[in-house]
């Protein structure tokens, strides 16, 4: 069996942000220094080779890009400046675009112009919609958001959005799962899939593997952003919908962002504060890191990295401003800020979650899950 060398892949990967991978001379230092690389799944050098040789199929079925949390040890210690950590990051972008059957992801990643236009359009559409569809009697004396945008309407929009996003995310995730499992997908008995399911949950929630990296700070920052974001999603998707009032499962006392101001120790308010603080901390740390290029993972920033962090931080900041405007009872300020807030938050959600960086929240645990299923299966076969 021989494989055809395809030099065009390197050029293609350059569009995803690949810069220095051709400098790799395959000493193997990166793979041996990586705390996550294992005898079963050694990386990142292997992926550097696949890239140099243009082996698309091998990359598509490789779980390794998702096993890497980009602590940067490999890049810091690379004798050649080939930046294998960044190459793995590029692989994740590339894989995300391959998993996405719509082709949107590829455009988003490979064209900065497209990325900005897409976000701007979605943002403007949200703004337009909010301007067009608002309540009849906005309360201009008190900052009461529901008088401008009634909870019910928001909930409907929210759920539609959630459904669409979930559809795209899940279909893409399924492709991710299929590529990773390869031929084994059908061979593995269902029982094994079920028993290994805990792996998915564990990796999703704790990012245990990341914790094994030398630079634990990165894990902490990443975990902050992740838990902050998941908390926020929970608040928004589940509680904003008033505990799913629309299907009759409303529970007012814990609904999110209604025109009631919960007492300081109310769990919803606490969760909101946690999410805000975690996100603010995480994004600020990462942004400063990327501006100052403090460590390897921050040295090469793709436009989508910037966009993601900026949107996230702006979402948080506008959220904070709304919160204070409400507390101070500045109605107009609150309403304007809310429009701005959603013009930022929604595009991020719509575009990033199924098609771009946020999708890794899904892909990573899925691949880890698939890998553990595969390993378990192969172990049983022996």
């Amino acid at each position: 069996m021989s494989v055809r060398v395809d030099p065009s892949l390197m050029k293609e990967l350059e569009e995803f942000g690949l810069k220095d991978a051709n400098k790799c001379f395959h000493c193997g230092n990166c793979t041996a220094i990586c705390p996550l690389s294992t005898p079963e799944n050694p990386f990142p050098r292997k992926l550097m080779k696949y890239a140099q040789m243009g082996l698309r199929d091998k990359i598509l079925s490789s779980p390794e890009p998702w096993l890497c949390y980009y602590c940067g040890d490999c890049s810091d210690n690379c004798p050649r400046g080939a930046d294998p950590g960044e190459a793995m990051m590029v692989m994740r972008r590339y894989l995300t675009s391959l998993y996405d059957w719509t082709g949107f992801s590829r455009k988003f990643y490979t064209s900065e112009k497209f990325e900005i236009i897409a976000i701007t359009i979605v943002g403007l559409l949200v703004g337009l919609a909010m301007w067009l569809f608002h309540g009849e009697n906005p309360d201009m004396a008190h900052a009461r958001l529901n008088t401008v945008w009634p909870a019910g309407a928001i909930e409907i929009a929210d759920l539609i959005m959630a459904a669409v996003l979930t559809f795209f995310l899940l279909t893409n995730t399924w492709r991710c799962f299929s590529f990773t499992m390869g031929d084994l997908k059908a061979k593995v008995p269902l029982g094994l899939y079920v028993t290994q399911a805990k792996e998915f949950v564990v990796h999703f929630l704790t990012q245990r593997k990341f914790g094994e990296c030398t630079d634990r700070m990165q894990w902490f920052v990443h975990l902050s952003i992740m838990t902050g974001y998941v908390t926020m999603m929970f608040l928004v998707i589940v509680l904003l919908a008033g505990g799913l009032e629309i299907i009759g499962l409303a529970w007012e006392p814990i609904a999110f962002q209604r025109d009631v101001i919960y007492p300081l120790w109310h769990p919803v308010r606490l969760l909101g504060y946690y999410a805000t603080a975690a996100l603010l901390y995480g994004t600020t740390y990462a942004l400063i890191g990327r501006i100052k290029k403090t460590k390897a993972p921050y040295k090469n920033s793709h436009s989508t990295d910037w966009m993601f962090l900026i949107l996230l931080q702006l979402t948080v900041l506008t959220g904070i401003f709304i919160h204070f405007a409400r507390l101070l009872n500045w109605p107009m300020t609150t309403y304007v800020l809310n429009v701005v807030h959603l013009m930022i938050a929604v595009p991020m959600l719509v575009l990033e979650v199924p098609f771009a960086k946020w999708a890794h929240m899904m892909y990573r645990p899925v691949v880890l899950y698939a890998t553990s299923v595969k390993e378990k299966y192969l172990e049983q076969q022996r």
Binding site: F25, H26, C27, G28, N29, C30, T31, A32, I33, S37, T38, P39, P42, R45, K46, D76, N77, C78, P79, R80, G81
Partner: protein, 420 residues
């Protein structure tokens, strides 16, 4: 060639390159001066046990060269000397040389009475600090000039007078102070050589942290009878015979975080050192971890011969980390076999780091206008005509090419004089 008889050539550095440059010019009839920082001539070569690929002792060639120096009145040399200043121009340089005190004058016969009387011990720099020696010492068995040196710590101590009195020939001068002298020369050959890259900068390798991690230059001393172990290769942690010796190539070399260039000799040096281990321990296992084996020209033949040895394994992969094993006795090397895409943890009980060469001009630059390359090597000759870089001051390379370079530099220096 009008004034060739009156103008000399200064050679800075009395290692193999410098000795060669001075001798080649002197034997062609030119006056030469060698200025050497150490108390002896011979430089790094004197510290080597064998050369590759012949596995012959460097002292043999040094003996010939020392004889050439002894017999040729045109060669004069100053040890424990450094060039402080260079002024003037090609054909007419004024050089200031600082002579550091040896505390022993030319009456010394190397009888060794001072060392007998001395109780103070210091680290032995010739053996890279691996053992202690008397503070009144002959730098090594074939030290040339064969004359003792008193360490400053001894001179300042209470013992100094006792040691002085032990000398039957009035050769000890405790009052000796640094002095400077001036030389007029027509050309200068700069051959101050190299130093091994500081292995403690290679954090992942634990040099200085784990005693059984040593460097290639230390291995040379260990294999030498005049070294710290009388030529026995032993694990520094427990003085026992090693069973598995690992040679880590490119320890800092070809590495942008350390030395981006290749020192050109380490592959062959490690293979040579593998033969030392094999000679002493026929059952020992040896692994040489490499990126590329750079055995150019007929050195390839040496590589082939070493490769034939079943106990020597060539392992394609750069060692990323060295950690102690669980028992805390041996070492574990983490490395990828890049030919098999497999990750390994390989045990070894003695690890030799193949550290590369750095030019000494980094620490002691030429006190004149000279161009250096990105790595501190003297790069071009045309900045100050008449000053010529040679040997490892110019290129990290092996002894043979250093001698070649020293010979070429001698001719350049002669031209600087002949042109006048």
């Amino acid at each position: 060639m009008a004034s060739t008889e009156t103008q000399g050539i200064l050679v800075v550095g009395g290692g193999m390159t410098g000795i060669t440059a001075a001798l080649e010019a002197a034997e062609a009839g030119y006056d030469t001066y060698i200025v050497e920082k150490n108390p002896y001539l011979g430089g790094r070569v004197a510290q080597l046990h064998h050369y590759f690929p012949k596995l012959c002792p460097p002292l043999c060639g040094l003996e010939i060269n020392f004889r050439r120096v002894r017999q040729n009145p045109r060669v004069r040399f100053f040890t424990m000397a450094e060039v402080e200043n260079i002024s003037g121009e090609e054909g007419n340089f004024d050089v200031t040389i600082r002579l550091n005190p040896r505390y022993v004058n030319e009456k010394c016969t190397a009888c060794g009475k001072c060392a007998e009387a001395c109780n103070i011990e210091i680290e032995n720099p010739f053996n890279y600090g691996m053992n202690q020696m008397k503070a009144a010492y002959l730098p090594h068995d074939m030290a040339y000039p064969p004359r003792y040196v008193l360490d400053a710590s001894l001179v300042e101590s209470d013992e100094a007078q006792k040691v002085k009195e032990a000398c039957p020939y009035d050769a000890i001068d405790l009052e000796m102070a640094p002095k400077t002298m001036n030389l007029k020369v027509g050309a200068i050959v700069y051959a101050t050589g190299w130093k091994p890259y500081d292995a403690s900068k290679l954090e992942a390798y634990g040099f200085e942290q784990y005693p059984d991690v040593i460097t290639n230059v230390m291995m040379e001393r260990m294999a030498s009878f005049s070294g710290p172990t009388q030529g026995k290769i032993l694990r520094p942690s427990n003085n026992e015979a090693p069973k598995h010796v690992a040679f880590v190539q490119c320890a800092g070399s070809r590495d942008e975080n350390h030395l981006p260039y290749c020192s050109g000799v380490c592959c062959l040096a490690s293979m040579k050192q593998a033969t030392y281990v094999r000679d002493q321990y026929p059952d020992a296992k040896i692994t040489i971890f490499f990126i590329d084996i750079r055995a150019t020209d007929r050195l390839e033949n040496f590589y082939l011969n070493v490769k034939k040895d079943e106990n020597i394994e060539f392992f394609k992969g750069k060692v990323a980390q060295i950690n102690p094993d669980e028992a805390g006795e041996g070492l574990i090397l983490k490395v990828e076999d890049t030919t098999k895409e497999s990750l390994h943890e390989i045990p070894a009980d003695l690890v030799v780091l193949a550290t590369g060469m750095q030019p000494n001009t980094l620490d002691n630059p030429v006190p004149a206008q000279v161009a250096y390359d990105d790595y501190g090597f003297i790069s071009t000759l045309d900045v100050t005509p008449g000053i010529y870089g040679a040997g490892c001051s110019r290129v990290p390379t092996n002894v043979s090419e250093c001698v070649q370079d020293g010979t070429a530099a001698a001719l350049k220096a002669i031209q600087s004089i002949a042109r006048r």
